[in-house]
Structures are given as C-alpha cells and as structure tokens.
C-alpha cells in the first residue's frame, strides 16, 4: 500500500468525491468520556498488535460549531508511532466531526470500510467522548469497547446506561488511581441484572496493566445479543437521518422553518415528497 495514495483517497471520501463499497472486517469503536484514557489505551493496543497485525485508527475530535475548525490532538498520545519497527504497519488518521455537514458518522463508516479494503486487519475508531455522535459512531463499528474511569463517587449514572448497553467489552482505566476498583464493583453489580453482561477489564494505560488482555480480546470479541440490537437501532436512526441530511432541500427547508415559520409537520411532509 502506498501511504500517500491512501491518505489522499481518504480525503476524497471525506469530501464526498469518492464512493466506497462495504467490506467485511473488524471495526472496533473505543468510546468513553473525555480524558478517560482512550488514546493511551489505543497506544497500548497498537504496541502489542503491530507489526504482526496491520491496524488503522480513525481518531475523531469535535469540530468547533463557531469557527468550523478543529484541534485534532489524539495523535500526541500515540508513542507507538515513534517506533520504526511498528509504525509501518499502523495508519492513524485524525477526523473532525465537521458537524455542520450533519452526516459525519456515515463518512467515518466509508473511511473505515475503505481501510479494511486496503488490507488492514483491524480498524479502531476512537470516538469523541460525549453525546449523541458517540452513540452514532457505534453504529459503524461491529464491536464496541466502552472505557470508564474512577468516578467521583457518583456510581454508575443513569445516562451512561444507553452506552453500556452497547458495550461488547468494558474497560475501567486508570486502575492506578483510587476508586477504579469501586467502579468495577458498581458496574458488576448493575450488570448482574443483564443476562449477557459484557466482560470487564481493569486496566491502566500508563502503568501497562491489563493491556495484554485487552489486546488479545480486541481481536476476538464476541458480539453480545443486546449490543447487536442497540447497534442496529443506531444504524437505523443513522440511515434515517442521512435521508434527511442528504436531501438537497435540507438547508432550504431549515431556512424556511427559521425564517418563514414553516412547521415541523409540514417540513417532514416536504421531505416525503
């Protein structure tokens, strides 16, 4: 593979200039709150899988809604790129959500599929650590790893439930800090109610704890029945959203809603036509 050509192709896909066909292969999303250690864990995984496996990483960061610009900093954590023996079998691309275009998750799907078609064994997507785009990225992956960290004693929050439902594996990172094992306990308790609870790994990306296990598991993660259902739901929502967002009249209809008072019902009717 010619790296430069691959990089240009990915830009073309991102700019909507190149169509992609769906490819079979392993796409794993790594998601979790900001700063929990997703990039550091990815680094640990890459150190263990490369150069034996060819791994691509799509690291997603938010676009500023005000300026349309983005600061893409996940690469800083990837010390593996300094390792000449390994970096040749790794490809890392930073992606801005460009949320104004509305359809970023489907573009990430195209990028991931193109990487699989370019002979990568595994594509890891590091998602933005918050909100709905995180759930939507889950629609693209066929396995999902949710990363948690030591919380400030607030237990497992209700709003996390949706995300945990998606998890095929949970990693509780920062085991070197106080409170991490309590989170494992809390999660274990709350997951006893589920009949196919995902496995939990206690890890420390900075101390190297749990990373061998994580790297081994990532290649052979079993799909949970409930995560499959949650993922398919996200896929359906995403597909439906794309129908709206990709409609050429989308922006014009929004203008009419905001300026002429077009109602939501009437707007939806226009999309149907």
């Amino acid at each position: 593979m010619e790296r430069r050509q691959l990089a240009r192709q990915l830009s073309a896909i991102e700019n909507g200039e190149l169509q992609v066909v769906k490819t079979e292969g392993l796409i794993v999303a790594i998601t979790g709150p900001p700063g929990v250690g997703k990039s550091c864990l990815v680094d640990g995984i890459l150190h263990r899988l490369a150069p034996k496996h060819k791994v691509a990483v799509l690291a997603i960061d938010p676009t500023s809604p005000i300026s349309g610009g983005a600061l893409l900093g996940d690469r800083i954590r990837l010390s593996v790129l300094d390792d000449a023996e390994k970096s040749d079998s790794i490809y890392v691309r930073s992606i801005a959500t460009r949320s104004s275009s509305g359809s970023i998750p489907s573009i990430v799907s195209d990028l991931a599929n193109h990487l699989l078609a370019s002979n990568f064994d595994l594509v890891i997507i590091e998602t933005v650590g918050a909100g709905q785009s995180e759930m939507r990225c889950a629609a693209i992956a066929n396995r999902i790893i949710v990363v948690e960290g030591p919380s400030r004693g607030d237990g497992v929050q209700a709003e996390k439930a949706g995300l945990l439902e998606l998890a095929d594996l949970i990693v509780v990172n920062k085991s070197d800090l106080e409170g991490a094992s309590k989170v494992v306990n809390d999660l274990t308790v709350s997951l006893t109610l589920t009949n196919d609870a995902p496995p939990i790994i206690l890890a420390s990306a900075t101390e190297g704890v749990g990373l061998d296990e994580l790297s081994e598991k990532i290649l052979s993660l079993e799909e949970r029945v409930s995560s499959r259902r949650a993922r398919v739901r996200q896929q359906l929502l995403m597909a439906h959203e794309n129908v709206l967002v990709r409609n050429p009249a989308f922006e014009a209809i929004i203008d009419r809603m905001s300026e002429e008072g077009l109602s939501i019902e009437d707007a939806l009717r226009e999309f149907d036509e």
């Binding site: 790296r3 990089a7 300026s67 610009g69 983005a70 600061l71 893409l72 900093g73 690469r75």
Partner: protein
C-alpha cells in the same frame, strides 16, 4: 474567511517550549482550520510521516531553542523526497532575522516571531493556499517579501 485547510503544527527537535505552538494551533482552529498537533520532540521523519498520513496541505514548525537552521531545511528536504511537493511549510518561534533568508531558500514560506497577531498567520494561510508555493515549487516567494 478562506477555505478550510488541514494543517500540521509540529515541534521538531528537543525544544520543550510548546506555548507558542499551542497558541498558534488554537488560533488556526479558531480561524476555521483543522489542526493536527503533534506534541513535543518530533523528528523530521515523524513530522513528514504525519503530514503524509493526515494528508495535510500545510505544516507549521515551531522552534525556540536555536535548532531551526538545521531542522527546518531537514523537514523541507524530507517532504520533497517523499513527493509531498505541494505541502506549504511555514514556521515561527525565536528565529533571528539573519537566519531567515537561508530558511526561505530551503523552501520555508513564512517565519513568524514573538508578538505576531494571529490574524496575520491566518492571512498567510489564506493567501498561500491560493498560490502554487508548496515546498517543491520553484517559486521563490515568501511572506512579507
């Protein structure tokens, strides 16, 4: 505002001064660009690899330690060797006037010192993106000529 560019901001060498690079990275983001920040202590090879993988059109180098005369031309040469001729190289930091013409000759298109307003850096990016002034271009233009 000009078109959105993908810009790598990099700190080559052992220089640990990263405030300026971070200020510039943020200013470019606020100007609507997608900025990939490499973090401290990158080798020229790593910087070129990042530019290639990220398909960036610009690379901004920051140096306050005095190693610019060696490192900036090195990055320019490696970019050309990698066939990344259309990438625009610019830089900033503590870079004495006397050193600049040598850097321009090597292919660097702009040097910004302390106190540069971020609007000027944004103007440069917008202007340069309309020119054929990549590191492999024979054009001898540089900003502030």
């Amino acid at each position: 505002m000009g078109a959105r560019q993908r810009i790598v901001i990099a700190k080559p060498g052992l220089d640990g001064h990263d405030r300026g690079a971070k200020v510039v990275a943020r200013a470019l983001r606020d100007g609507g660009h997608e900025v990939i920040y490499t973090g401290l202590r990158r080798t020229p090879d790593q910087i070129v690899r990042t530019v290639m993988d990220e398909d960036a059109r610009f690379v901004g180098l920051s140096s306050l330690s005095g190693a610019h005369s060696h490192l900036f031309p090195k990055v320019c040469n490696l970019l050309r060797e990698a066939g990344l001729d259309d990438v625009v190289v610019f830089g900033g930091g503590i870079i004495p006037e006397d050193d600049r013409s040598q850097l321009f000759d090597a292919g660097v298109r702009a040097i910004f010192g302390p106190g540069t307003p971020s609007t000027e850096i944004l103007e440069f990016v917008e202007f340069a993106s309309g020119l054929n002034c990549g590191v492999g271009s024979p054009d001898e233009w540089h900003w502030g000529e």
